[in-house]
Symmetry: C2
Amino acid sequence: MPYFDAASSAPLHPVARQALQASLDEGWADPARLYREGRRARLLLDAAREAAADAVGCRPDELVFTSSGTRALHAGISGALAGRRRAGSHLVVSAVEHSAVLHAAEGRPVTEVPVDRWGAVSPGVFAEALREDTALACLQSANHEVGTEQPVAEVAGLCRTAGVPLLVDAAQSLGWGPVDGDWSLLTASAHKWGGPAGVGLLVVRKGVRFAPQDPADERESGRAPGFENIPAIVAAAASLRAVRDEAESEARRLRELVDRIRTRVPELVPDVEVVGDPVRRLPHLVTFSCLYVDGETVLHDLDREGFSVSSGSSCTSSTLTPSHVLRAMGVLSEGNVRVSLPSGTAEEDVDRFLEVLPGVVAGVRGRLGAPTEAAPTSAASRALVVDALGKRCPVPVIELAKVIGDVPVGGTVTVLADDEAARLDIPAWCEMRDQEYVGESPAPGGTAYVVRRRG
Amino acid sequence: MPYFDAASSAPLHPVARQALQASLDEGWADPARLYREGRRARLLLDAAREAAADAVGCRPDELVFTSSGTRALHAGISGALAGRRRAGSHLVVSAVEHSAVLHAAEGRPVTEVPVDRWGAVSPGVFAEALREDTALACLQSANHEVGTEQPVAEVAGLCRTAGVPLLVDAAQSLGWGPVDGDWSLLTASAHKWGGPAGVGLLVVRKGVRFAPQDPADERESGRAPGFENIPAIVAAAASLRAVRDEAESEARRLRELVDRIRTRVPELVPDVEVVGDPVRRLPHLVTFSCLYVDGETVLHDLDREGFSVSSGSSCTSSTLTPSHVLRAMGVLSEGNVRVSLPSGTAEEDVDRFLEVLPGVVAGVRGRLGAPTEAAPTSAASRALVVDALGKRCPVPVIELAKVIGDVPVGGTVTVLADDEAARLDIPAWCEMRDQEYVGESPAPGGTAYVVRRRG
């Protein structure tokens, strides 16, 4: 049963399991105690810290273990901001950071640096956002939804010049290799590389002003309160080393499989947009969006076929809004599918996915009455206003596609919709279909989107 | 090798180990995902929540899993205070709460309710501390250093009458049974009952105003950010159920062993004070302090004999101050030893501890030149001022004991000391020796403690 959602959580690596089991007997005691059980626990913790620091490329005393990647981000952001209180409180983040970063930034003055259509920031644009009162900048090493790598080393250099510390969220990439560049803080999450849940990393380079904001606690240099979870920490460090040993060859192999998906999906499935940078990207992750498909149904149908994937479509989020990453990139969000291959993914499973996908997408489209590739023109209706109020993604786009053939070239059609995804998907459809997106305006009960027919 | 420090961390219960290993295969995926791996993880999480809620005596939707007991306390206190912002910001805590509670209270208006010599608060005194602007009260179910149970049910009733929510830190007692009474919030820590590290519980009763203070996160009802550690959560819930099944018989057995220690230690070792309530106490925990002994050496020597215990003496803390619990109780802090028996402790190990202890204590006293029971009077020196400046605990008390026999009845001796522990231990020595403690005053380089000889 192929699991293709490693970017959410990777299955436990065999080395992690082994290390976890081996350290359950030695790692349960309080490492702050001086008796033998405590000393043993301390030895395990120290060794894990050294191994993790080695993989990150930092000093052991710069690295603490937190209880999750989210906690590492919260502690890193709040501690760095507090440490730079005198400089100001302004924060610079990319628009495609993980929601944990964006939530930690809420209530503060924030500049979100836009990304290009591939999902990457421009170092120059990022640097322009840095102000006199900027206390901290945050940039992910690679995006969790589309896999695009960010120009971290260049941005880190520009931040250094500006005297602003850069925090790098390396959650998606640390298993593949260290993060280059002169960054100041770094965070990661063990269960993303096949380590156990319950372990994050927070690295604060020597010389970076840092003032922990949690209540005082003696553990982990005062930066991560709560009793240390040593067996999980040992397993996290051991598996990081293990995945790094395999990283080069496994990256090459998975990159090929992902390339196959990137190439074949648009050939096999009509009206698909593959998103994210085709070259500067994580080796194991690819995202594409299918016109006229709703994400929840396609996920459900793929699950029935045995494939576990995720989606940034609005219908699959608890807030019923499309992923902020896809929004920031300005790409189609409907029928969104993210495939992220865990280490060891079999070639046959990828091939079978490519076999199954076209039928699944066609099935969803058929049930929704979506236009087929052949003939979008058909209707007798000459209505230039499409009322899709109350209809959820992807119906507004389907209705638009149904009538566009009836619009005279140079004429317009107006789509009335109240689903938030339409704001993203109608312009994206226009770009894919080479139609002109004129704009939106408020309308009773929703928004009116105007599209002019080009050809 | 007998480990007698269960109150710091208990060895992993066999059921916890079994449950952890069994759920590594099913519990690694994201429980928020709808594919089969996610659904399986969700089922495990839901079942664990029901089991834990059943053991606590609450509804499953009142309970969330945090990454540690410390985190549960931090989140519980900050969330309850924020939820009651309109009432005020005043906090009432007992003087013997865990340091995580006291640290979380820092920077807020706090009333510390004193305890009696057994370590318990009086419900009436606790209730008197509640004010118009009190937002929250905190009381542990039982003390972690001396084992004394607090009158939680009575205090909860009084808090309810006053309209103030009560948070109960049940870290030390939850394995032994549910916490009675009409409390509002409750916290606990799995590794104290033989569950794995990395799991805490936070219970917030329906109707309690609560506003989480961490950055927004969808996990655990927004009360505990970060990816759920499901295998550990499953193990925590399974082991809680298992220890509860054994609790009644094991409590009876350990209570007897602890009674043996409480009775025999003062018979076997001269100049010992057993502290904490002899009846209303945790079944497995006993604390005593030995005059003329330094805690670090006695711990070290016991470790060499194979016994792992902890201490609240100043020399064993990173701050070089005696435990705030012993200080609040006004009992001797020097030579402090806490014995907390894990489930399954063998009777023979306790007996061997009782065999070994007298020699260990005598050895430490011998090396320090402490007065023997027989003849504290000896010295030719008639000096009525003892200069113990620069000497660490227990030396100031040893020097005092050496000269007291030379002081005429009704006369005084002044001890000059700069070790913080003397402030606690000289009065405690006076009480044990039936001498009159006159008081203290500042002196050059330290403090002058005046003692009058009674008999």
